[in-house]
């Protein structure tokens, strides 16, 4: 009923005349708060309504998207959790509203464009940071929230492939149960914690117990580097074990300043949010020129090290209005 009503209203404006768009994330995280800020800033700039929804899992994402359709928004930018299996549903959504993807793409759907970067490449950059931190090679352990979501898989694969000196191939997948042994670097294991933070720390502790010679630890989700740091600190192993992080958790950034984290790979979630809304608004106005040939608007990830962390941090704070 709601779907039908929406179809008839075309890309109709809401009663107050303002266009409305939504950003749907993969979960709840400070990372997404930055994205939200970007989206909202764009909303203010364009004078449109922007709603940001943070679902707790894939099912929740589905129902949140359904709710948006029922409510009637003009366009949605969604971060795919499971691009392959969500494809059918995304196509359904695309029939009833303008749909683009951000952060994590779902290339085999009718989404109009993707705003973000390839997590495989970001992972690769993380791998490069590890190589810098332990140039003589050694054992590496990866920590991540969960591997079920596509961006996590690709990010992890990027790190592994880079460390093992393989050709770039974003579709490769090493099972998480096994160690990946390369000439110089060995990825011993990938531990998941299902977003349970005490468990994330316990995983680090257990790996410190099991692998006394571990040379570097990589935290693939935003909260993993702080968990690694906390465990290292309590074990008295700061500096002894090198840490490479992802994303821009303040604890991670501070640790880069202090030297206890070698570096982190950051995306530009602010830009994802900001640009998604702008693209949606342009498309709503019928301006197809915003869609590039390959249907991807890419913002490459960046490596942040000690020398550029200050600049990055103050820029981030200014975007967040802090």
């Amino acid at each position: 009923m709601a779907l039908g009503a929406f179809a008839f209203s075309g890309c109709g404006e809401k009663e107050d005349g303002k266009a409305s768009y939504a950003l749907v994330t993969t979960g709840v995280d400070p990372f997404w708060d930055i994205c939200k800020k970007g989206g909202e800033d764009a909303g203010v700039e364009l004078g449109v309504d922007v709603e940001v929804l943070m679902p707790s899992n894939g099912d929740d994402q589905k129902s949140k998207l359904e709710d948006l359709l029922a409510k009637g928004v003009d366009g949605i930018a969604v971060a795919a959790i499971d691009p392959i299996n969500q494809a059918g549903f995304f196509d359904e959504v695309a029939k009833n509203a303008m749909l683009i993807t951000m952060d994590t793409d779902a290339p085999k759907t009718k989404r109009q464009v993707f705003v973000g970067m390839d997590n495989y490449d970001a992972g690769w950059m993380g791998g490069e940071l590890v190589k810098e931190a332990i140039p003589d090679g050694g054992e590496v352990v990866l920590f991540i929230g969960r591997l079920e979501q596509d961006n996590a898989k690709r990010r992890r694969q990027g790190v592994i492939d880079c460390l093992l000196g393989r050709e770039k191939d974003a579709n490769r997948y090493d099972a998480p149960g096994q160690s990946q042994i390369g000439a110089k670097y060995t990825v011993l294991a990938t531990l998941t914690d299902q977003f349970d933070r005490p468990k994330a720390k316990e995983n680090v502790e257990d790996m410190l117990t099991k692998h006394e010679n571990v040379a570097a630890m990589v935290g693939l989700f935003a909260y993993n580097p702080p968990a690694i740091l906390e465990a290292l600190k309590q074990a008295g192993k700061i500096g002894q074990v090198k840490v490479v992080g992802f994303d821009e958790n303040p604890v991670t950034l501070q640790a880069i300043k202090d030297g206890s984290v070698h570096g982190t790979v950051v995306q530009d979630p602010y830009e994802y949010g900001y640009r998604s809304i702008k693209v949606l608004h342009a498309l709503a106005k019928g301006d197809k020129s915003v869609i590039p040939e390959n249907k991807k608007i890419e913002f490459p990830a960046r490596q942040i090290r000690k020398d550029d962390v200050d600049a990055f941090w103050s820029d981030l704070n200014s975007k967040l209005g802090k």
Partner: protein, 319 residues
């Protein structure tokens, strides 16, 4: 002693097996970490054991952990409170939470499952609102305060007894005395077995039930406090998720019957240790994969419960 024999043997078997199969299991660092985790999770398990002994259940523990684990750093870091007053407020809130649960269950006769299920949702939702879904932690500050969750009494260079474990032992001793040496403990067991008979014997059963929920919530709060002091990072949307189930599982492993009237504190502590040992084992033994965690914990729990029931039935038949 008889009641905890099974779980004690289980613990020893897992301990020895991990020592043989795992790497560096017996090292001082790992042993210290095991004690630390037993301390943290054990507080929740002792709390829920009180409620289970009365025949009730508390599903809101994880959310109380979240409320306190996010609330205390929020008060300290965002609102500028002193750690002492933040902890005091957290404990008062936990006290009120327990009183509220007890009131709904005894006076309005609502089912504990329903009451605490609603609470599970409410406290988590409230915390998310309060913290605006932002990660909470102490950054690099309040090191002295955080020591309660991170420090240890040094024994050797590599091994120390972590404060959380010391706190657990103190709480366990008080709980043991309460349950075994005071009339209130006797009353709790009596009403857990047969509330009506206990009431007709002149016991103020409502008051005892309320007390058990208060104890449970306050220990959950203490646990939540130590978790955040130890880990320094809490996300309102998932901090403490499912911890009530870990606590209930540990209590059941330790010999608490969900029908009420049964349970020992020593058993609950050992039950918690078994859960932590299992998690540790899965990470330390090469051929156990981390995705098997729930599978293995579930199977061990089930086997323990089945074995316990068989032994009980055999004893009953002999009599």
């Amino acid at each position: 002693m008889k009641k905890i024999k099974g779980i004690l043997i289980t613990m020893i078997v897992i301990y020895v097996a991990t020592a043989i199969l795992g790497e560096n299991f017996l090292g001082g660092y790992n042993q210290g970490k095991l004690l630390e985790r037993t301390g943290l999770y054990g507080l929740l398990a002792i709390g829920v054991a009180f409620v289970i002994i009365t025949g009730g259940i508390d599903l809101s523990i994880g959310s109380v952990v979240c409320l306190v684990g996010c609330g205390v750093p929020w008060l300290v870091m965002r609102q500028g409170w002193s750690p002492g007053s933040a902890v005091a407020v957290a404990m008062v809130v936990a006290l009120c939470v327990g009183l509220w649960h007890g009131f709904l269950i005894t006076k309005l006769k609502l089912q504990p499952f329903v009451v605490t299920l609603c609470s599970l949702l409410i406290y988590r939702g409230a915390t998310r609102g309060l913290a605006e879904d932002q990660s909470q932690g102490f950054g690099g500050e309040h090191e002295a305060f955080r020591q309660w969750g991170t420090e240890a009494i040094e024994v050797t260079h590599k091994f120390g007894i972590p404060y959380p474990f010391v706190i657990l032992i103190v709480v366990a001793i008080i709980a043991w005395i309460f349950l075994n040496k005071t009339i209130w403990g006797r009353y709790l067991f009596a009403l857990g077995n047969n509330e009506e008979a206990a009431r007709l014997s002149g016991i103020n059963t409502d008051r005892m039930v309320i007390l058990s929920y208060v104890i449970c919530s306050m220990l959950a709060a203490l646990g939540g406090l130590l978790f955040i002091l130890n880990g320094n990072s809490a996300q309102p949307s998932d901090f403490g998720n499912f911890y009530e189930l870990y606590a209930i599982a540990a209590a059941v492993l330790g010999g608490c019957s969900l029908r009420g009237g049964e349970g020992t504190i020593v058993g609950v502590v050992i039950g918690t240790a078994v859960m932590q040992l299992l998690k540790n084992m899965i990470n330390l033994v090469d051929w156990l994969k981390s995705h098997m965690e729930f599978l293995i914990v579930g199977i061990v729990l089930l086997v323990a419960v089945i074995a316990d029931e068989i032994i009980k039935q055999r004893v009953r038949k002999l009599k």
